[in-house]
């Protein structure tokens, strides 16, 4: 067994065994608390530039399969695990987890006291770090970490966005045409739109507004994606021209970008939300949904506050009129979604498409499509 270790930028070290590709990986070390859905997480473009620590100890139990891909490749830089398993004989497995990571060239470490690592990140905040082969000197590793730019200020969208436009759901003839800026969209989102009869166009993040406006869209969609939203002014500028033209909906990074486009601020959370169990309250219905979450930044509240001490639907003044808080995180009371009151549009910070995670929020796709047909 090859040994390996995790080193954080503050010098904290955890030892384990290498179970993926040879070599090392550096980036932001984050953790996800979901107990299943490891393959979905690794292939989610929002994890670009990050090393995922899985809090659930057993990872790989049911192998990997094409059905669980959230994009066409692995985006996370490494997997940090307590007990990785390589199983090819699971009923749904098309390959073993560790074999697959190796084939994808992804560094992975098992045998790590992930709970101690997570507790450290929780208390000290998300930070840079890496997974290194056991025989690499710590000094070398430290230099590699130092050379990695911090997550705040990093644009990873350029890495994950496609080079060319693509269209999904072309069979849905006559369905609403949704034009999306692909900042790293998950296939689950694509699937949810297509299943509901929509035609979805995915455009590179650098596509100019004029081109998007010329696509004869019924609605615009802003996808999830990686990195710091404050580095994406080129997308924000495009958005400013789209918002108000047609119903617009944003998920995760898309939510943050839309908020920035209408003049709101974003900030970096201490260690982010990643998992499948956060309660979010829909302030319109009072209902609580258990949500899939994956974000390291959030939107600042109307009074400049990071957390909200009321369940009231607070309002912001934006440069397109008023916006109202629509969804609230009941864990840390951060903004989870808002509705634009004067132009058709809304956003959520979390992942209604699940993949992985619960299906409680799928209704948001229905709401969006209803809004589109109402606007048509």
């Amino acid at each position: 067994m090859r040994t390996a270790y995790v080193l954080l930028e503050d010098g904290t070290r955890f030892d384990g065994d290498a179970v993926g590709a040879e070599g090392h990986a550096v980036g932001e070390v984050v953790f996800t608390t979901g107990m299943s859905g490891y393959q979905e997480s690794m292939t989610d473009p929002s994890f670009a530039g990050q090393l995922i620590t899985f809090t659930y100890p057993h990872i790989g139990n049911y192998g990997v399969s094409q059905a669980a891909m959230e994009s066409d490749r692995v985006w996370a830089r490494a997997a940090i695990m307590r007990e990785a398993t390589n199983r090819e004989d699971a009923p749904d497995a098309e390959a073993g987890w560790c074999d697959w990571l190796t084939d994808c060239g992804i560094v992975a470490i098992s045998g790590v006291d992930t709970r101690a690592l997570v507790t450290h990140i929780r208390d000290a905040g998300a930070m840079r770090g890496g997974v290194f082969p056991g025989d690499m000197a710590e000094d070398t590793a430290r230099e590699l970490i130092a050379a990695e730019p911090p997550m705040a200020g990093s644009d990873f969208v350029r890495e994950v966005t496609p080079q060319t436009m693509s269209v999904h759901g072309e069979a849905n003839v006559g369905g609403p045409r949704i034009v999306a800026i692909d900042t790293g969209i998950k296939l689950s989102i694509v699937r949810n739109f297509v299943e509901r009869g929509a035609v979805l166009e995915l455009h590179p993040a650098t596509t100019p507004a004029s081109k998007l406006l010329s696509r004869d869209a019924d609605a615009y969609f802003l996808a999830n994606g990686p990195g710091d939203p404050s580095t994406l002014d080129y997308v924000v500028d495009t958005l400013r021209e789209l918002i108000g033209q047609k119903p617009t909906f944003g998920i995760c990074l898309g939510h943050q970008l839309m908020c920035r486009a209408v003049g709101l601020e974003t900030f970096k959370l201490p260690f982010g939300h990643r998992g499948a169990n956060h309660p979010v309250k829909d302030l319109q219905t009072g209902k609580i949904e258990i949500t899939s979450q994956n974000h390291g930044f959030a939107v600042v509240g109307p009074g400049g506050q990071h957390t909200l001490d009321t369940d009231e639907p607070l309002r912001w003044n934006t440069n397109v009129g008023e916006a109202q808080l629509s969804h609230l995180n009941l864990y840390d009371r951060t903004v989870e979604g808002l509705t634009l009151l004067d132009v058709p549009g809304g956003t959520v910070q979390y992942h209604p498409e699940a993949g992985p995670g619960p299906h409680d929020s799928l209704y948001l796709f229905d709401r969006f499509l209803e809004q589109i047909s109402a606007a048509a």
């Binding site: 299943s36 139990n61 049911y62 009923p91 045998g111 006291d113 997570v118 309660p279």
Partner: protein
């Protein structure tokens, strides 16, 4: 009003004490007055301090109706007392009681209960919700069942409606089995209805614990996967939380369906358990069943995640929403979330087949385990190995035989399946082979194979105590609930010890026959006392059902196996002032010596005193010194020695192996042939005859007496003297007993007090002592002394209104008896309390339903009244064998009992019963002028014989004193038939006398219901 679940029986155990206690606590916190009804005195919930009015009364509709009439509660919460409480609530709704007294049913409404419990309605409900169930049909008769068989095919699952833990159900693999099980199932169902299910044998079995509030918010608290696939009752399966083998996509489908089920059934608030079968290959899902209430699985889920389901269910029932309730553990987040965990939980069932000779040991949909142990580890292997060692088996699995034979054994679920599986892997079996035989998911098999081949590997590194925090460390945990995990590197414990001195209390481990909830009751009292004494109470236990493993009970809970190594690990971190070992039954006592050797302070009675009481020779010397009498006895080391000793001691003899729990392998033998037979049957395999055997002269027809007393090393206080209803020779745990004694004179009671004082003082007891005596021809004999909490401590505490375990804890912490201000005459109240045992014979087909020196009861009930016969009648009713008011009594007794049988016959005849007897007994009774109908004795002699009468339902009471315990004897057939048809069956003459008096008392008038608070108004301060 909260209803408890009554006595501990298979399928309904301490988990409902845990849930009931949580409910009582939170409802009183919310300012509600709580009226509690539960017949089980061994529960914490029936402690008078947990409710405003506590009724230890039978859980039957007419009695609960009386309590309702007296207390006039505003609402009835029936979802925390298991199937018993739910069935009661249903009956009270149907008979109009709830409407008459304007009582609102909360937690689950009548229609929802019906939709979940009635197989027909549930199926319709699921179909309407678009969910699939196994193909199925309902039958009310054998003919209906027969006509459905061709469509459903064999094997087929038979489930009776409205029974606990699937009692009376099973899997039929042949036509013959089918015929038999259909009949048993129809008989077991209170509404004569069975469900015939398409077999999904071999599919994966999953459970989801769901909670819903009145805003229709639904969360899944926990997923549980059964390692044993479909076909083995979940209570008998080794289970794992969270689920390990489903993809996220498939798991989310189950989650969606579980939510759809709770909505469709219409459970408005509270917790439910939904069971699924999943075909791992086709990904087909079938809903199997749902329980619209807290359950064994919800207790497990609560302990597994730190999410207190019962507590939250109680709050939801009175109108809270999930988001309005704090998560106790983080104290920063609301209860409207789904726990995520970063460890693995394994639950192991604990079986007791060794107690039921002849019983069918294969596992099916009919639950047979008597308890469970849970373990938490950082990995599955850690958790599985810890759970295995938590079982505390008395006997090792038999693993002889070839690999082929072992593999064949894996095809059927049995209690030793995983021991066999380990052996098969050690002998080279492959994962594929084992999968083909057992259908167990390969992921588990890979893990188990690695564990079998290298059991030490998962425990490399250092032991580290980590928290159970509901959130995988995303938030800081405030509630100190810990488990040990093994990790690389130096230990990083998450325990924040604080400055206060701590006292460690060792729990009793998994419930088993002989060591049940009574000991948990004592441990909880110890924790309460330690906390009240300005120390941190530290609990170590591994039983997920119990109140002791509620993180609210102690200052720090360590969910750990009760082995010396595991306990010493905790002690290293805790550095406690001392350890309390005398409350958890034999489990902690076994550890006492090792702990002392490791330099740990044992609080209370010394280890040497424990040994002095347990060692026959040393204890005999002590009695000699004090001039006290004991029956002659001897100790032998092998068969020839035992035969020789038997001549010296004299027959009849009580024989048993040394250090036993609940009279394991204990028997009465009347002659040398009997003794030789016993020695042969109990010999170790392989011809090794060396073992320690105790032989005691058995005092025939003696009255047995149990005493619980407190001692501070010098002074002694006798709390309770109990007279057994059955004669000596019946295990004290299985015998009914009465407090105060109903037929011992004041002089004998004084003699008992004197001897108890002498023994306790001589042993140097600090804390509790239990002494068993026999009164034979007016002389008092000491049978045994146990310097620890006994099974009867909770019963005595409730009967006299003094919490003995708490008082004992205070003594152990250094107070003196004089400090405790105990009443001078604790038994001086104007009431009588009767304890009755509850036996699981209906679960073990093939085993004889007879009482003897080997304990077989799983639980107990208490009846309280102003006089003995009424209290006895209440106890019988609470134990589930309500004495008849009229009808036919079948009487057959041994020759030595014949003269006394007349008195019973006379009394029952005078009460208007028809007496039926076999020839000998009939002759004896008829001779004295009582009319008797004689039936053919021999079951094989043709019809009509006794069994025909019973099976026809023509007998309402059986009094049968056995002539020996030969399997398949006439007596055996009679008792089997009575058990199968729910006819009360009394197997001792004195029990028969008591029953006759109780029937007379019940005839004389309606028994009033009495709350403990009424019985002991002056003593509540002490509690």
């Amino acid at each position: 009003m909260i209803l408890g679940s009554g006595p501990i029986v298979i399928g309904q155990a301490a988990e409902f004490d845990y849930s009931g206690v949580q409910a009582c606590k939170v409802l009183r916190e919310e300012g509600y007055e709580v009226v509690l009804v539960n017949s089980n005195p061994a529960t914490i919930m029936t402690d008078p301090e947990f409710a405003d009015a506590t009724y230890v009364e039978p859980l039957i509709p007419e009695v609960v109706a009386k309590v309702i009439e007296k207390e006039r509660p505003d609402a009835l919460l029936p979802t925390l007392g298991g199937q018993t409480a739910l069935n009661l609530a249903k009956a009270l709704q149907e008979d109009g009681t709830l409407e008459k007294f304007d009582v609102e049913l909360i937690g689950a409404n009548y229609d929802a209960i019906n939709r979940a419990e009635d197989r027909d309605l549930f199926r319709t409900c699921m179909e309407e919700a678009g969910l699939k169930m196994p193909k199925s049909t309902i039958a009310h008769t054998i003919e209906e069942a027969q006509s459905a068989l061709p469509d459903l095919g064999l094997p087929i699952i038979i489930r009776p409606a409205f029974t606990l833990g699937g009692r009376g159900g099973g899997i039929a693999r042949t036509e013959e089995e089918f015929q038999r099980m259909v009949q048993t199932g129809l008989d077991a169902s209170p509404i004569t209805q069975i469900l015939l299910d398409e077999s999904v044998l071999g599919w994966g079995e999953f459970e989801l614990e769901v909670m819903r509030d009145h805003h229709d918010n639904v969360v899944i608290v926990c997923s549980i996967e059964n390692i044993d696939p479909m076909g083995v009752h979940t209570g008998d399966s080794v289970t794992v939380a969270p689920q390990q083998t489903l993809t996220d996509a498939l798991y989310q489908k189950l989650r969606d369906q579980a939510i759809a089920v709770i909505r469709a059934v219409g459970v408005e608030t509270g917790g439910s358990n939904v069971q699924f079968a999943v075909d791992p290959v086709s990904e087909e899902i079938r809903v199997i069943e749902m329980n619209p209430r807290v359950s064994r699985s919800s207790a497990l889920a609560s302990k597994a995640t730190g999410f207190p389901i019962a507590k939250i269910a109680a709050r939801l029932a009175v109108g809270y929403a999930l988001e309005e309730i704090d998560n106790d553990i983080t104290q920063a987040t609301p209860a409207s979330f789904e726990p995520t965990i970063d460890y693995v939980v394994v639950k192991w069932p604990r079986f007791a087949f060794e107690k039921f000779e002849g019983a069918d040991v294969s596992l099916s949909t009919h639950m047979k385990s008597v308890g469970e142990a849970m373990a938490i580890g950082r990995t599955f292997k850690q958790a599985f190995a810890k759970a295995m060692r938590s079982r505390e088996l008395d006997t090792d699995a038999k693993l002889d035989g070839t690999l082929d034979e072992l593999m064949t054994r894996l095809e059927r679920g049995t209690s030793d399946r995983f021991d066999v599986l380990f052996e098969a892997f050690r002998q080279g079996a492959s994962v594929e082979d084992v999968h083909a035989r057992s259908s167990i998911d390969r992921w588990y098999l890979h893990e188990l194979r690695e564990l079998a081949l290298d059991p030490e590997a998962p425990f490399a590194g250092s032991r580290q105590y980590k928290s159970v925090d509901t959130c995988a460390a995303e938030f800081a945990a405030r509630t100190p609930y810990f488990y040990s995990g093994w990790e690389r590197g130096e230990a990083r414990h998450e325990v924040e010890r604080g400055d206060r001195p701590s006292v460690v209390i060792l729990g009793g481990g998994p419930n088993r026959i002989g060591q049940g909830i009574e000991f948990d009751y004592c441990c909880v009292h110890a924790a309460m006392t330690v906390r009240a004494a300005d120390r941190d109470a530290v609990m170590i236990n591994c039983n997920p059902e119990t109140v002791s493993t509620d993180y609210d009970t102690s200052d720090r809970l360590y969910f750990e196996p009760l082995t010396l190594e595991d306990v010493l690990g905790v002690i290293e971190v805790e550095q406690p002032e001392g350890v309390i070992v005398q409350f958890g039954g034999q489990t902690p006592l076994r550890l006492a010596k090792g702990l002392e050797d490791a330099g740990v302070t044992i609080l209370g009675t010394s280890v040497d005193a424990i040994d002095l009481a347990e060692d026959r020779g040393r204890f005999g010397d002590l009695l000699d010194r004090l001039g006290l009498k004991a029956p002659p006895y001897a100790t032998a080391g092998n068969t020839p020695e035992a035969i020789a000793a038997s001549e010296k001691v004299g027959f009849p003899l009580l024989v048993r192996p040394s250090y036993v729990l609940g009279g394991r392998a204990m028997e009465i033998v009347y002659d040398t042939a009997n003794l030789e037979d016993y020695l042969r049957r109990t010999a170790k395999p392989g011809g090794d005859d060396t073992r320690e055997i105790f032989l005691d002269r058995f005092l025939e027809n003696a009255i047995e007496v149990d005493v619980d007393a407190l001692c501070d090393g010098r002074e002694v206080w006798v709390g309770g003297i109990m007279q057994h209803v059955e004669e000596a020779g019946i295990h004290s745990g299985d015998s009914a007993c009465v407090l105060p004694p109903h037929s011992l004179g004041p002089e004998m009671l004084e003699e008992i007090r004197t001897q108890t004082t002498a023994i306790a003082r001589e042993l140097g007891v600090i804390g509790l002592i239990n002494i068993q005596y026999a009164v034979h021809d007016g002389t008092l004999y000491v049978i045994e002394a146990n310097p620890r909490a006994s099974r009867t401590v909770p019963f005595v505490s409730k009967a006299i209104g003094v919490p003995l375990a708490k008082m004992a804890s205070r003594l152990m912490l250094g107070e003196k008896l004089a400090d405790l201000q105990l009443p001078a005459d604790p038994m001086g109240g104007d009431h009588v309390a009767v304890k009755e045992a509850v036996l699981p014979f209906d679960r073990f087909h093939g085993s004889d339903a007879i009482l003897g020196p080997e304990m077989r009861s799983t639980g107990e009930v208490m009846g309280v009244a102003r006089d003995f016969p009424t209290a006895f009648a209440k106890a019988q009713a609470a134990a589930g064998s309500k004495l008849p008011q009229e009808g036919t009594v079948f009487l057959t007794v041994t020759d030595t009992d014949k003269s006394a049988a007349f008195a019973i016959g006379q009394q029952l005849h005078d009460l208007g019963f028809k007496i039926v007897a076999t020839a000998g007994t009939a002759q004896a009774i008829r001779g004295m002028g009582v009319p008797v109908h004689e039936v053919l004795q021999k079951v094989g002699d043709g019809s009509p014989n006794v069994v025909d009468w019973i099976e026809r339902g023509d007998v309402s009471l059986v009094i049968n004193t056995p002539t020996g315990s030969g399997a398949r004897s006439d007596g055996w057939e009679i008792r089997r038939a009575a058990v199968a048809h729910g006819v009360p069956c009394i197997t001792t003459l004195s029990g028969g006398v008591a029953a006759a008096r109780a029937i007379a008392a019940a005839r004389a008038g309606d028994a009033e219901v009495l709350s403990l608070q009424e019985l002991h108004p002056q003593r509540l301060g002490v509690a």
